[in-house]
Amino acid sequence: MRRMIYLAVFILLIQAVHAINSSDEDTVTFKDFTLNIGDRIDIGDYQAELIEIQSVKDGLAVMQVSKVGSPLEDQRAFLLDSANNIDGGAEDGGITITVTDIFDDQSVKVRVEYKEDLGTARKHTSERPRVIADRPNLVVGKSFDKNQMSVGDEVKVTVTVKNIGTGQALNIGTEDLPPLPEFSYIAGYPPKIKDTLDPGGADSAVYVMSAVKEGSIRVPAIQVSYTDSKKNAKSNSSEPFNILINPESKPDLVIKLDPSGPIAAGGKGMLNVSLSNTGKASATRVKIEAQIKPPDGLEAIGLEKSLFEIPPEQEVNYSAELLGKKAGNYTVSLKASFQGGDAAMIQEGKVEVVVQEQEYKYLYLLPILPIIVIIAWMYRRYREYKY
């Protein structure tokens, strides 16, 4: 009896294993392939060859599917991410093909689903030379010549279009956004790009704007549209970017007057003048006028000047000669009038100059020398009379 039980269990086990093996043969599996035009996938008797990429944009690829020993030979367009069942699909013993990605007009990624009993899907690479497709690819860029500017500054905007594709780009057109409220367009707008660009060709256009309002601005992208030789319409855009418009820049002249020290009456001294532009804009047509109070007793030579320009963050230094004529305290005032943008500006500086009474070197000897002479004379006379 026990033997019968063991035999029955053994038989049940064998049946179970057989049942398991039978279910494995019906399992659907899949495999992804990257195909170039001409490449083929073989699975069982099925063959699927990538014929062309009809539209990258629309996600259409054309593949030819056939079955050896069968009249099946079908060339159809595959829509991206849309499963296409051949012979009822993988569930029914056929195959299911899905274009999962279209890389470009030459290559796609394809997923093939099939039952395992069909064998292993293999890729057969085409030995035909690859035909370079006629595919233009325009890259567009927009740039400002400076990221930061001030109100009133002019900025050059450069639009560059370059064909990095393999085909001629036709009917090129750019679409830049209308003038921003932060800028006023001065010249060159809208940018004009050639209608056609050969592969490797590039074109650029420049237009000039003037910043009119301060703030942080996000400059929108520029879009370029074109068609290829097959009149497929294509387009591309630049990346938007940020710029900063600072408040209007002005020159700011700082006048420093540094006299060499007190001047002796009848003597000379120096007055060092430093004009530094601490503003953000150039000071132009700088005219320096001097005034000395009281006017008599001190004369300045070379104090008044005219300068064409003092650029920002730069300074101009020069020295004037002072002639002290009469002792006293004098105020030397310097007035610098200049143009800062459209406005006329004035900056003033002043310094005290002291003219001292004429100092005679070794003056102290004057009273001493006669005393010494007198003492020497008297001593000599004393010696003459000493007996």
Binding site: W377, E384, Y385, Y387
Partner: protein
């Protein structure tokens, strides 16, 4: 320009020379400090030399430079002994004359001395002889000062013998100053000496200046020499300076001849042999007619009178120099000196006799020990 040598011999001569140097420094106001600041201003080239055997006398001088003080080494003076003095001079003659020779050549020399002292009275006659021997054309005038009569018998004796020797030498003349006569100007002796010295100094410098000036009416060294050779070859000087109250030149001349303004008591009208009147002053005061009349009046009584007029700003100043035909005061001095010498001699004899009488007590006795 006259080259003048002024020799002050002996204490008196030294002090008068010092007064001359002081006068050259500005006169009465000159102080010790002044001499260190100023140079003596003489009217001509004047060299001064103070000669003395007593170094202390030389040290007392205040306005004479050290190089113009010559010490003749003879201990500390000659003690009023003219014989010692003469020997000292002879012993140091070359040195003395060498010092004078260093000062160059001279036209006129004044030997200023006291007649009564030791060094001056003994040196001066010998010195004058040496000067006349060494400088052929020199005119030597002795300024001889007579002593106070009460100074003592030795001084009177020295004065008497010294005057005689001075008369014997070849000097052109002697100008006398009498301390006894002049002491009336001051109460004490020291002040009297200073006053007398100053008066003599002032007159001598005025004389030198005048002789060396361009005159309106000329008198020169030759005239002066002629005057000094007149009479006894002994003379004296008078001086007067007019003032604003009475600037009359005529009165000034008269006053200069009055005894009160003379260095020696004399009566010009009666005693003078020759005279020289030198008048200095601003032109407005110098009325030539008046001067001439006054000089003529003087000539009528005093013999020949030379007159010199120097135009110089100021009230009239008059210097009168005259030699005397007689000197009665000198005779009086000699008489006094003789008496003094006789008294001295008698005193000495009496003392000798007294000592001899004293010694007689121990005659024929021996010392016993």
């Amino acid at each position: 320009m006259l080259n003048v040598l002024m020799l002050g011999v002996g204490q008196c001569g030294n002090r008068i020379l010092d007064a001359i140097n002081k006068e050259a420094l500005g006169g009465g106001g000159a102080s010790s400090l002044t001499k260190y600041c100023l140079r003596p201003k003489f009217p001509s080239r004047v060299e001064t030399l103070a000669v003395n055997t007593a170094i202390n006398d030389l040290k007392e001088l205040r306005f004479t430079t050290a190089k113009d003080r010559l010490h003749v080494p003879n201990l500390h003076g000659v003690g009023a002994n003219r014989n010692v003095g003469k020997q000292a001079f002879m012993d140091n003659r070359d040195m003395i004359m060498g010092e004078i020779e260093k000062r160059g050549d001279f036209d006129l020399a004044f030997v200023i001395t006291s007649t009564s002292g030791g060094t001056g009275s003994s040196f001066s006659p010998l010195l004058i002889n040496e000067l006349k021997r060494q400088y052929r054309n020199i005119t030597v005038i002795t300024i001889a000062v007579l002593p106070f009569r009460e100074e003592g018998s030795i001084y009177l004796q020295n004065a008497a013998f010294s005057m005689r020797e001075l008369m014997d030498v070849e000097a052109e003349g002697i100008i006398l100053a009498d301390n006894q006569y002049l002491k009336r100007f001051s109460g004490d002796i020291a002040s009297a000496y200073d006053k007398i010295n100053s008066m003599i100094a002032q007159r001598l410098l005025f004389l030198i200046e005048s002789l060396d000036s361009e005159m309106l009416s000329v008198t020169d060294l030759g005239d002066f020499k002629t005057v000094m050779n007149g009479g006894l070859r002994i003379g004296t000087m008078g001086f007067y300076q007019a003032d604003r109250k009475n600037p009359s030149v005529r009165d000034a001349i008269e006053n200069s001849l009055k005894p009160v303004n003379l260095l020696y008591p004399a009566n010009v009208t009666d005693d003078s042999a020759r005279a020289m009147i030198i008048i200095q002053g601003s032109r407005e005061y110098l009325d030539v007619d008046e001067i001439t009349k006054e000089v003529e009046r003087l000539s009528a009584s005093a013999g020949h009178v030379f007159k010199g007029i120097v135009v110089k700003k100021g009230h009239p100043k008059v210097l009168s120099v005259f030699t005397m035909a007689s000197a009665p005061e000198l005779e009086a001095i000699y008489a006094q000196a003789a008496r003094a010498m006789q008294d001295e001699k008698e005193k000495r004899l009496r003392a000798r006799k007294q000592m001899d009488d004293a010694f007689a007590h121990i005659e024929d006795l021996e010392e016993i020990y």
